[in-house]
């Protein structure tokens, strides 16, 4: 059994920011989406950001996660961390911040928090219209298989 902190379990059982943000074409506001993972790998996260364009402030964020306890809790934690921040501030949020916000994650589960950070990057890049280099065998459309693409080296680097 994984040694989850009470915080992990609380955010897992009672997430408050699940779902999507519909783009209602409000003036001065833009909705951006970030995707990471795929169902084939067993982990996937889609992040919706609602951003005030003037200030690049995150007005709201929602997640949809297919994954384990840590993945769901990390998604919720990510949103708690970025709410109200500017995109530049949000870019400074690392998976380690997510993990420490959760009071820690089991070592083997650190990669679940990486997914949060990656989805955030993806959403911000999309918002800014920056193309990210695609993963090698990336022909699956929106939800690409990046869980092995989050790549061993990346996982090692961040743990």
């Amino acid at each position: 059994m994984w040694d989850y902190t009470d915080k992990v379990l609380d955010l897992f059982y009672n997430p408050k920011h699940q779902g999507v943000i519909e783009d209602k074409d409000e003036p001065g506001v833009k909705v951006a989406v970030g995707d990471v993972g795929s169902i084939a790998c067993g982990d996937a996260l889609r992040l919706h950001l609602k951003v005030e364009q003037d200030t690049e402030t995150i007005l709201d964020a929602r997640f949809q996660t297919f994954g384990c306890t840590s993945a769901i809790a990390s998604s919720e934690a990510l949103i708690e961390l970025i709410q109200g921040k500017t995109l530049d501030e949000a870019l400074k949020v690392t998976n380690k911040d997510i993990a420490s916000h959760l009071g820690g994650l089991p070592e083997a589960k650190m990669h679940c928090s990486v997914m949060g950070q990656e989805a955030l990057l993806s959403a911000i890049y999309n918002y800014r219209g920056i193309k990210r280099e695609a993963h090698d065998d990336d022909d699956e459309g929106a939800l690409v298989c990046t869980c092995f693409g989050i790549s061993e080296s990346k996982i090692r680097r961040v743990i």
Binding site: Y13, I39, A40, G42, A44, F66, A71
Partner: protein
């Protein structure tokens, strides 16, 4: 500590029967002698060990001289496979299946590095073997065929005697990992093609740390554990007397209850399974519907992930599992379900419920009450859904 739960994880381990504990206790307290000792205080314990051997032999339909006590299923599997290879050093081929327990599979993988060729038989989407593939794989060089009686994850039962007949035609030894089958399927080694059979105590309401290996009389055996020559030289080490007594008692109880218990478990299992399938959309049973243990159901819930389901069940005091319990540390999806070609949409969200004779109707009711809400909640979080 948490004492009560709705325990539907009996393929991982079982509750020790109170009668088993009671039978063991005197050998943990008063009768602690070493059965090999020259004094009657120790010698009396030797008699008790042999009585337990008779009880285990009775459950297997074997002779007591064919029963070796081990520390559990893993030791039994390891010992049987190594013994078969040591006894036939000239033969270098092993046949097993893709869906074995790691106690067989990981060892076979390792033997590949030691000059053995291993054939891993495939299974179809129902978890069943193709006997033609077996037939085509058997050669005069095949030392051993090691195939499980019933799968721990799906409960799928293999046609062991049909397999064994083919194995015997080709002169190979036949080992069967029956850890999940003993106590759920009647055994009769007297009329069987099986040469060696592994069982484990903690799957049949005996304690952890004890098991038995059946070795047919006349089958050449080379011990894995070497030392003082206990178990007639076939398994050295001071015998785990309380464990052995417990295993004997558990075997006696299994034999006594097998028919009515399995019938009861099957009824509860079927109700659980059918109601879930009928009331929750997008879920499927993994594994053949009838060639299956009476106590096991493995259900895949599309678009959601197994661990998340388990933790929600846990919050309701319900114990189940995804995949095997060996190493909860493992993040890999089940090798059994992958071998069956279960689609990814289902694979990651598959849950095993395994019942025992202690499972009650009311417990099944509780699962059926909470399960739809859990699935709905997690699906609401999921980026995937059916269109």
């Amino acid at each position: 500590m948490q004492k009560n739960c709705i325990y539907l994880d009996n393929n991982a381990t079982t509750k020790v029967d109170p009668e088993v504990v009671e039978a063991m206790l005197p050998y943990l307290t008063d009768y602690y002698g070493n059965p090999s000792s020259m004094h009657s205080f120790g010698g009396q314990v030797g008699k008790v060990v042999n009585q337990a051997r008779e009880q285990v032999a009775a459950l297997l339909g074997a002779d007591e001289s064919e029963v070796i006590f081990t520390s559990g299923g893993t030791e039994g599997d390891n010992a049987a496979i190594r013994a078969a290879l040591l006894a036939q050093p000239q033969k270098r081929h092993i046949i097993t299946t893709q869906v074995e327990h790691p106690a067989v599979l990981t060892l076979c993988k390792q033997l590949e590095n030691q000059g053995y060729t291993v054939t891993y038989l495939s299974v179809n989407s129902q978890g069943q073997l193709d006997l033609n593939e077996l037939e085509a794989s058997l050669t005069g060089n095949t030392a051993l065929v090691s195939i499980m009686y019933a799968n721990n994850e799906t409960g799928v039962v293999f046609p062991i005697e049909q397999i064994g007949m083919r194995v015997k035609e080709h002169g190979a030894l036949f080992h069967v990992d029956a850890v999940q089958a003993v106590g759920k399927i009647p055994m009769n080694m007297k009329a069987s093609t099986i040469d060696m059979l592994t069982m484990s105590g903690h799957k049949i309401h005996a304690p952890k740390g004890i098991g038995a290996l059946y070795v047919r009389r006349g089958v050449r055996f080379r011990p894995l554990l070497i030392g003082g020559g206990q178990e007639r030289g076939r398994r050295s080490g001071t015998p785990n007397v309380p464990g052995i007594v417990g295993l004997g008692k558990a075997a006696e109880l299994e034999l006594l209850h097998i028919e009515e218990a399995t019938a009861r478990e099957k009824k509860l299992r079927d109700r659980l399974e059918q109601t879930i399938i009928a009331t929750i959309p997008d879920c499927e049973v993994n594994g053949h519907s009838t060639q299956r243990l009476p106590n096991t159901t493995n259900i895949g819930f599309k678009y959601i992930e197994g661990e998340a389901i388990l933790l929600h069940l846990n919050k309701h005091g319900i114990c189940a599992s995804s995949g095997s319990a060996c190493s909860s540390g493992s993040l890999e999806p089940s090798h059994v379900l992958r071998s069956m070609g279960i689609p990814y949409t289902i694979l990651h969200g598959s849950i095993r419920f395994s019942l025992s004779r202690y499972t009650t109707n009311a417990e099944i009711d509780t699962v059926l009450e909470v399960m739809p809400g859990i699935v709905e909640h997690l699906r609401a979080l999921s980026p995937f859904k059916s269109d």
